[in-house]
């Protein structure tokens, strides 16, 4: 666990954390595995969102901290100037990593 800035976090061991959360996250990993298998079985072109998901998955195992923050930054629009006009109201969840540069994580 990262150092708590004001000692609010109770003491927890890795085992206690696994006791509480392992089954839930075991299921989520299987969901991702089955999703990637589903994508493989489907026809058509590769999708940039799935490509962005694969890059994010690689960050999970790079041994560095703050994975959630770094994945959110990876998927974020890194430009800083307002766009000319909003052509849609929604958001898709990630930018197209193949068409963007300078995304240091």
């Amino acid at each position: 666990m990262p150092e708590s800035p004001d000692n609010t976090a109770p003491i927890r061991t890795k085992k206690a954390t696994a006791d509480a959360y392992f089954i839930e996250h075991r299921a989520k990993v299987l969901d991702i595995a089955a999703f990637l298998d589903r994508v493989d079985r489907a026809g058509g072109e590769d999708d940039y969102r799935v490509a962005a998901l694969r890059v994010a998955i690689s960050l999970l195992l790079d041994g560095k901290p703050e994975r959630a923050r770094r994945i959110l930054e990876l998927w974020s629009d890194q430009t800083t100037v307002p766009i000319g006009k909003a052509h849609m109201k929604g958001a898709v969840g990630c930018v197209d990593l193949s068409s963007s540069t300078d995304r240091s994580t």
Binding site: A20, L72, S76, Q78, A86, K89
Partner: protein
Amino acid sequence: MYIDPHVHMVSRTTDDYVRMARAGCVAITEPAFWAGYDRSSVGGFFDYFRLLTDFEPRRAAQFGIRHHTWLCINSKESEDVGLSREVLGIIPQFLDAPNVLGIGEIGLNKNSRNELLILEEHIALAAKYQQMILIHTPHLEDKLKGTILIMDAIKAHGGISAGRVLIDHVEEHTVKPVLDRGYWCGMTLYPDTKCTPQRAVDIIEMYGNERIWMNSAGDWGHSDPLAVPKAQMEMRRRGHFESLVHKITFENPRSFLSQSAKFSAQPLTPTAADVTR
């Protein structure tokens, strides 16, 4: 006992009020937002503001929940500058209503020039009428950029104190920049987007418990009006003290919101059903 400081009851049922009251909800604040479709005229907003300032507080009171609200035109509709300015023009006549706490939820959606222009005009309106501000930050890939643009716009105005602004929907990549600039921040608990209860509690453990709250932002989308009590359960499951659970889900929102004398989280006796109108 808890406060849900961001929930769109206009799109929730009366059963949700019952369940929230049973789970310990004593007060809520409901920001004006997008209805799921673009309203066709300023009259649509006039009626929406009547609902937020008149009908909805009476409906909530039947379950002992104190209802407060924030007024604006949402950034999803502010691409239409003409309509936005008409709506800005009718807001002042509602600001003295007993449950209006300020201007919100304003902000950006796709980070466009017109959205930014109308955000700046809302900020100026809040400054002119000395109103607090509740900020909506954009969704998903647009959030990081939008959060920075919004904070820059507030700073550029110069007339708004950071302590009177709450920047909502923060996640792991935006919470620190918001807190570092002196603003309050909100974590929205959604099933798929924004924060899960687990991640929200992680954020408290990593970034502290000052100037931060949690809300359900329950609306017409995939959301959960009982998300705050579920996050309370998550904190207890991890062994957090009851005092911290109370601070995050009651004292912190009360501290921020009490900057308006109109806010109250005092116990409210449920009123009779509103059958005579």
